[in-house]
């Protein structure tokens, strides 16, 4: 649904986006992460045919961003970071205006306006001026505008920024609901927890280059090593040197708990429990130690800075997302 190949954008001498290759299929959500000025917004603008790529190509819903700009724009719903609403219009008028811009018939516009305003809890404010809306309400209205023409491709720049937790949850739930077999979504966000929650795949962009991209779990495995597990015990500290199987490594231990790491939890975890039970050590529970996307992100950025903006990834990474190697 979204495919780019060596997409680059230069402003004068400044290379804003450098040979970005991405693929997001229908039904997938990709979180595009990166520091400010990394090239996220420029990439998004190229994907909506607002900016012309300096080199490379991109196809959106089958349309070429260079030669079929109108088709691209009709297929994309974009939620920009600054939603840019018209304060003197009512919510209803605003959505209807964009419906006209997207050449939707009047009866469909009426139906869609009602439907979306209700969905985002703005039904009672349909006739109120947007200038009187709170930040969260504006963001919800901007989201409604993005979805108004039911586009197969959604691009969202900071979809929950400036929203209160309740509104942010509503929007996140909406994005969950938007995942469908025929829709591809890219979310640009600084909120890594949100990215982890919403996206199955991530791409980290740094100084215009994609430094790492792929399935979240596989990237975690690659950057942070094997998954870690914590075992809660019914006794105090123990000597576990001979208890753990050879493929599990003890990484931390305390009063009534220990943590270990293994490449093969499916086979090793039952063996660990078995060993503890055999030694009559009471086990309260075994759980995976949560490793946040933040760790992955910081690790990737640090590695990129150390390695001169490039990370070599092994061949076991998913093939649907291109990995950018050093030039």
């Amino acid at each position: 649904m979204i495919q780019t190949e060596n997409l680059s954008k230069k402003f004068g001498d400044f290379l804003a986006v450098d040979r970005v290759s991405l693929q997001v299929n229908a039904g997938e959500v990709l979180a595009l992460l990166g520091p400010n000025g990394a090239g996220k917004t420029t990439t998004m603008r190229m994907l909506t045919s607002v900016l012309r790529p300096s080199s490379g190509w991109a196809r959106i819903a089958g349309f070429d961003v260079l030669t079929q700009a109108e088709g691209v724009r009709a297929s994309v719903g974009i939620l920009t970071e600054q939603h840019g609403l018209y304060g003197r219009m009512s919510a209803e008028e605003y959505l209807d205006f964009f419906g006209q811009v997207y050449r939707m018939p009047a009866d469909l516009r009426r139906k869609r306006t009602k439907e979306l305003l209700e969905q985002y809890g703005l039904g009672g404010d349909a006739k109120r001026k947007i200038g009187e809306f709170s930040k969260g309400m504006r963001q919800k209205l901007a989201l409604a505008r993005t979805l108004y023409h039911n586009p197969p491709v959604l691009l969202m720049d900071e979809p929950t920024s400036a929203m209160d937790p309740e509104s942010a949850r509503l929007v996140r739930d909406a994005i969950h609901g938007l995942r469908s077999a025929n829709r591809a979504i890219i979310i640009c966000t600084h909120n890594l927890a949100e990215a982890e929650e919403l996206a199955g795949k991530i791409a980290i962009i740094h100084l215009g280059k994609i430094i790492i991209a792929g399935d979240v779990q596989k990237i975690k495995l690659k950057l942070l090593g094997a998954p870690q597990f914590e075992v809660r015990l019914g006794v105090g500290s123990l000597d576990l040197k001979d208890t753990l199987p050879s493929d599990a490594w003890l990484i931390a231990q305390g009063e009534g708990w220990f943590q270990f790491q293994t490449d093969n939890p499916i086979e090793i975890n039952p063996l660990v429990i078995q060993a503890l039970v055999n030694q009559k050590i009471p086990v309260i529970g075994l759980s995976e130690v949560s490793r946040s996307l933040e760790k992955v992100y910081l690790q990737a950025i640090t590695d990129a800075q150390v390695n001169g903006n490039s990370m070599k990834m092994s061949g076991d990474m998913p093939t649907d997302l291109e990995i950018q190697n050093a030039g």
Binding site: L51, T80, Q82, G84, M89, V101, A142
Partner: protein, 477 residues
């Protein structure tokens, strides 16, 4: 065609509705539409009372149509504010971004906004003019000629269009309303001067000249609209921070264009200059047409201003001083210092033409360079009345220095026109700034390599040989 235009009207409708909800626009428009015409009426009646008492009825006669024009002009000044707000304001607030991501084309968006900026103030202007006319008719029974009404109505509309299209060009070069307002003086000052000139014409009752003003404004509006369509595009609006001035980058672009691929001065002269001249082939053709037209215009002027053969005769020239060549000597001819005087004079004129041309899309520059040809044409027309063949006179006036000076004029003019064209023609590979700097570099290249040496050669010929040819051909000795 109409289907392509329809989406533009969606934008127009939205913006018009928005304007009607903005008290900052509504209030001044209402005041200028409803209060100002009454004030103008009141003023006219005072003046009529004054001239009735003390005479000079002509002042009253001229004042009524003059105020009619002014009553129309005031509301359309609001169009400038609306346009700056519509174009620069939307860019600054980023509310334009969802529109840029929509299937609307750049031209549809531009036309929609242009119409919205012009329509409301223009409607207000016509309403104000109607209120004024009704008031004047009721108080003085004055009735305007239908053609006069059409003329002032057109003048008002085209002035609004020039202001709005100029505002769009300004807005595309800024990222904030504040910066756009600062740049708006480039529109306000010329418009204020134009209104003063129009006022003079109205008070002299030179209404026919106003048709020429309308024609000139229509041409200007067409150029500005074309320039606006070229510059108002997604790439320019969101592609870069255009408020920042990067002198270093400008210098690099200028230097690269000026130097081209050449590594030595010889290569530059052998390869780069011929390539530059080749690139300017279309402006060169335009300059030849303009200079020819200038010469013809000069010749036609002799008849149109009614100069009769008795007005000028070569005998009268001889009677002043039989030694014409001595007259030339008094002006520095036949001396080396005269060469530098003429050379410097020509270079200064070309420099002024380049400078003015850069601000006026090349138009003022081309007009300045046409002036010598208009004078030559005029002189030819004048002397031709004494019985000489025009070609003989033309040869006497322009030979032999014209062999070098006219190509210099053509090249200088062509490079100035190219600077103007760089602003009104879209560049696929270059930004507007790059295009302008590159064309200025090309202009500098042509000036330095060809125009300056040609002018020097022409000055030498003009000082030492041209007077001899003139005297010989016209038999002035």
């Amino acid at each position: 065609m109409l289907d392509n235009f329809r989406p533009a009207l969606i934008i127009t409708r939205r913006e018009l509705r928005d304007q009607q909800r903005d008290w900052r626009i509504i209030l001044p428009v209402l005041m200028l539409t409803l209060l100002f015409p009454f004030l103008a009426n009141f003023t006219t009646q005072r003046i009529l009372g004054f001239v009735e008492k003390y005479g000079a009825n002509i002042i009253a006669e001229r004042f009524i149509p003059f105020l009619f024009m002014i009553v129309g002009f005031f509301p359309i000044t609001i169009s400038l504010v609306i346009a700056l707000e519509s174009f620069a304001g939307e860019t600054e607030r980023r509310s334009i971004e969802p529109l840029l991501s929509s299937p609307l084309t750049d031209t549809q968006l531009y036309l929609g906004k242009l119409l919205a900026s012009v329509l409301f103030p223009l409607a207000a202007a016509y309403l104000g003019m109607s209120v004024y006319l009704i008031g004047i008719y009721r108080s003085t029974s004055w009735r305007a000629e239908p053609m006069f009404l059409v003329m002032i109505g057109l003048l008002t509309a085209v002035q609004a269009l020039v202001m709005v299209s100029g505002a769009v060009v300004i807005s595309t070069q800024t990222t904030s309303v504040r910066a756009a307002n600062l740049l708006a003086s480039f529109i306000i000052i010329p418009m204020a001067l134009l209104i003063q000139a129009e006022s003079v014409m109205m008070l002299w009752a030179d209404y026919q000249i106003l048709w020429w003003v309308i024609l000139a404004l229509v041409i200007l509006a067409v150029l500005l609209v074309r320039m606006g369509i070229t510059h108002f595009n997604r790439e320019n609006l969101l592609g870069r921070e255009i408020d920042s001035l990067n002198l270093r980058w400008m210098w690099h672009v200028f230097r690269d264009e000026f130097k081209g691929e050449a590594r030595t001065v010889g290569e530059w002269l052998r390869w780069e200059i011929p390539h530059s001249v080749k690139r300017m082939s279309i402006p060169i053709v335009w300059m030849i047409i303009l200079l020819t037209a200038g010469t013809y215009l000069g010749a036609v002027l002799v008849k149109s201003i009614g100069i009769t053969p008795s007005f000028f005769s070569l005998e009268s020239l001889n009677s002043i001083n039989t030694k014409v060549l001595d007259q030339f000597r008094q002006f520095g001819y036949f001396e080396t210092s005269g060469v530098f005087t003429i050379w410097w004079h020509n270079l200064r004129a070309i420099a002024i033409a380049i400078l003015l041309g850069s601000f006026t899309l090349g138009v003022a520059g081309a007009i300045i360079l046409m002036l010598p040809m208009i004078i030559i044409g005029f002189f030819t027309g004048l002397v031709a009345q004494t019985g000489f063949h025009p070609l003989t006179i033309l040869t006497a006036v322009v030979m032999p220095h014209g062999l070098l000076e006219i190509p210099a004029l053509i090249l200088a003019g062509a490079s100035i026109l190219q600077v103007g064209a760089s602003l009104v023609t879209p560049h696929r590979k270059q930004t507007i700034g790059e295009g302008l700097v590159s064309s200025l570099a090309e202009c500098a290249k042509i000036t330095l390599a060809l125009v300056v040496p040609l002018c020097l050669g022409a000055a030498i010929l003009e000082v030492f040989f041209s007077p001899l040819v003139l005297v010989r051909l016209l038999g002035l000795e």
